[in-house]
Structures are given as structure tokens and as C-alpha cells.
Symmetry: C2
Subunit: 250 residues, 2 copies
């Protein structure tokens, strides 16, 4: 039978505050809309609601910019308190130009603003990425297993820009219970060629597939991906980080 799968947004979640029991809330919302979770579902969860549940939201009034942040903010024409937060979240500035600040986050992700974001949070606050998105995913997976016995694959998604291509796309910044990369290493096509495209970023593709129902306005922060034969594993999103020695674009 031809492979097929379904993507279902979950809406109706309440506004998420620090300490929220996300597992419970997601289960309830999914059941309430008539799409209860099932064994082998993959759950794609926006970084933002995990950050909120984990209290990773900062009041800008409480941020004191360093001299370095003040200088960069002047050059970029940006709020120095935001630049301060971005620098705290970063281990390296990759590019800084035209108002854009691209950094390598402490996790190793390369993205604009280090994941510091002001959308879908209260005014005068900014959200940070989860401290350890793999751990966030694992905690959610454990909680859902505890409540239901279901063992789901979890992808934590965020919206990143890309060099060369216009427009943003969702990618994975955390996983649990899922091998984020599918390897075709050593496989051959029908003509006998060894495949050139050997490593597929399945977790990123799941995040992108989910974005198509999640959108940007926070009403659908979670999606169920159902029906794919995903490779389950105790794995980390770190395998999506390109080894710097193999990256021609550092």
C-alpha cells in the first residue's frame, strides 16, 4: 500500500503559564477536539509553549544591558535589552549586519536572535528557547506515557531562517523517542548507484509538515503526525548539528 500519513493541529489549549502541566493539557485538548492521541503518534510541539511552561520568559524591564550589548544595539538599531538577552543565549555571533543578529546558541543552533522572541508573549517580555529542548521533549514524552501508557515520538519545533532561500521554515530543535536523521548509507537505487543523498533530516521535515497547520498566531501550538513509520530511538537532536569540520559555511 502506498505510504500515507495525516497531520492534525491541536487547538483550544489555554494560555500557558510557568509550571503548566503541558502533557495533561495537550491530552485534554486533543481528546476534546475528537483526535485523541494514539500509540506511535508523533507530536510536534512549538518551542514557545515549552518555554512558557518552563518559565523561560523574561521581563525586559529587568534586563540590564552590558556595554557590549549597548554598543551592538546601537549599531543594529535594536533594543539593547533584547541584544543583551540574545548575547546571554549565545556562544558566538555568526553574522551581524542590516539589523540582523545571527548567532550560535548555547545548544549549537545557528539562528537569528538566538531564539529570543517577542511574538505570542506578553508585551514587554521576551521568550527564550528551552534550556535543553531534548530534555523538554523527553519530559513531555514521559508525562504522556505516565498519564496514558502511550509512547509518543516528540519533536520540538522552532521557526528559522535559512541562507540563500527566502522565507522561514520550521525545524526541529529537540526530539525524544525519535531518530532525527534517516540514513540511507550504503543503500543502492534500482540502477545500482550508491545513493548520494544519504542522510535525511526527518525531524526537520516533521517540523515543517506540522508548521503547515500550526501557523504563526499561536492558536495551534501542537500537531499530531499520524501514520508514518518513523524510526524510534533514544536519540538527541544534536545529530542535526552539522559537524563544523564538515560545514563549508561557518
Amino acid at each position: 500500500m502506498a505510504p500515507r500519513y495525516e497531520v492534525m493541529g491541536i487547538e483550544g489549549l489555554p494560555e500557558i503559564r510557568g509550571g503548566a502541566d503541558l502533557g495533561q493539557l495537550i491530552l485534554e485538548a486533543a481528546a476534546h477536539q475528537g483526535t485523541p492521541l494514539r500509540e506511535s503518534d508523533c507530536l510536534v510541539v512549538s518551542q514557545k509553549i515549552l518555554s512558557k511552561a518552563e518559565g523561560r520568559v523574561v521581563r525586559l524591564a529587568e534586563v540590564v544591558p552590558s556595554p557590549a550589548a549597548l554598543a551592538m544595539a546601537r549599531e543594529l538599531d535594536r533594543d539593547p535589552r533584547l541584544v543583551e538577552l540574545i548575547l546571554r543565549e549565545s556562544k558566538r555571533v555568526v553574522r551581524m549586519d542590516k539589523g540582523v543578529l545571527i548567532v550560535e546558541t548555547r545548544h549549537g543552533w545557528i539562528c537569528a536572535n538566538g531564539g529570543v522572541d517577542q511574538s505570542n508573549v506578553d508585551l514587554d517580555t521576551a521568550s527564550l528557547l528551552p534550556e535543553d529542548p531534548d530534555r523538554s521533549a523527553q519530559t513531555l514524552r514521559d508525562r504522556i506515557r505516565q498519564l496514558t501508557g502511550l509512547d509518543l515520538a516528540i519533536v520540538v519545533s522552532d521557526t528559522f531562517g535559512r541562507p540563500w532561500r527566502e522565507g522561514l521554515a520550521n525545524v526541529a530543535i529537540g526530539v525524544a523517542g525519535l531518530q532525527p536523521i534517516k540514513s540511507y548509507l550504503g543503500e543502492r537505487d534500482p540502477a545500482g548507484h550508491v545513493l548520494q543523498a544519504t542522510l535525511l533530516a526527518v525531524a526537520d521535515e516533521l517540523a515543517s509538515a506540522a508548521e503547515l497547520v500550526m501557523g504563526k498566531l499561536s492558536r495551534v501550538p501542537v500537531a499530531i503526525v499520524r501514520g508514518l513509520a518513523l524510526e524510534r530511538a533514544e536519540a538527541s537532536s544534536k545529530s542535526l548539528l552539522r559537524d563544523p569540520s564538515r560545514d563549508l559555511f561557518r
Copy 2:
């Protein structure tokens, strides 16, 4: 109701040769497996079968490498005939190192090997990208409309690497009947923030969503994406090309 959609691979297509009537073959294969096409479906089609149908397959024995190709091939330890084809397909070499040749194709896409690929074609041949993937998409759209009256959105997909992130992902290199970028320009989130993430590369996300059923072994070269409220338009994939003046990574 929460948004949801379905992705269905189409299998059972015959080996595609130059001049094949792809529209007819896709319709038949979709009907044969019990998933006939419907109005408003989006069809994601691998670049490879369009290239084959358009005769964009070259016998390596007939390729005479230029001196430049010979020199680069030596440096990269690659087949000089392939390097010759890559250079013919390119307008600029972006990076060349560690056996990898990243170019800007004549269309403007930045990718490894200029889309010249040896997988899923006969031995001793290589496939090139369609000359104009938007035109390929439009031709397929027209043909299906002619045969059935259905007006589909079409995405031509290919598998590209990305800087910074490990693993490849499918992206769109051609579209028809679809606005490839979704704009949130000027929209505000519930808290009143103007959204920072304003342009979403929907066509790339569709290509990625489809890859999850298409895989790399050529058995599922087409997928139906059904149920999304996509923005239909007479548009070009060119809006996915980042304006060089806004790209910090040229």
C-alpha cells in the same frame, strides 16, 4: 475545527522515459491505488521524474570535460565529466572544498552539484534539473486540467543540503498554481506584537512534508497533499530565491 491534512504517496508509476505523458501516468497511478486526485489537491512531484520525462538525462560517455572542469575535478577528486555537467548547469561556484562543489544554478538555486545527480537513473548517465521547473509544473498542471478539469497546485521538489544543519531536506524548485511564500506582514499576535516571522516558505514545507512518504529510492516520486487551505496564485518559485542584497551568506 482544528486544521488537518493528509499526505499520500503515489506509487506504481512506470519507469519514466523522455516524452512520457506524466499527467496521464500520475492520474492513472493515483486512481489505481484508490486515491484519485481531487480538486484543490496539491501535487508534490520529484524533480527527477520531470527531468526524465523532459529528456534531461545525459550519457556521461558523450560529455567532453573542459580544461577548467578537468582541473577542478582533479582538485575535488571527482569524475571530470560530472564536473563539466555541473559547470554547464551553473552560473557561479559558491564553495568548493572537501570533494563538495556548491554552485548557484542557472535558475538561481544554491545547491551541491548544481542538481546534477546520478541516483535513480541508468548507470553511466546523470540527470540535470528541468530547464525551467516552474514551466514543468505549469505544464503538468495544464495537462491534468485538460484531462480531468481539476485545477491542482503543483510543487516540484528536490533534495538539498543546508549550511549549519546536518542532513538533507526536500525543498521546492518549481511551483504552479500556488503562492510559495505565506506572508504575515503587518499581522499581530494576540498580545499585539507585530509578528517577527513574517514570510513562511510554504512551498518548501510542502516539499518536506511530501519527502516523508517519497523517500530516496524512487518508488514514490509523487505525493498528494490534501486538505490544506493553500493560497492559490499564478506565481513563480523565484520568490523563494533570497535577494542577494538581503542574504548575509553569499
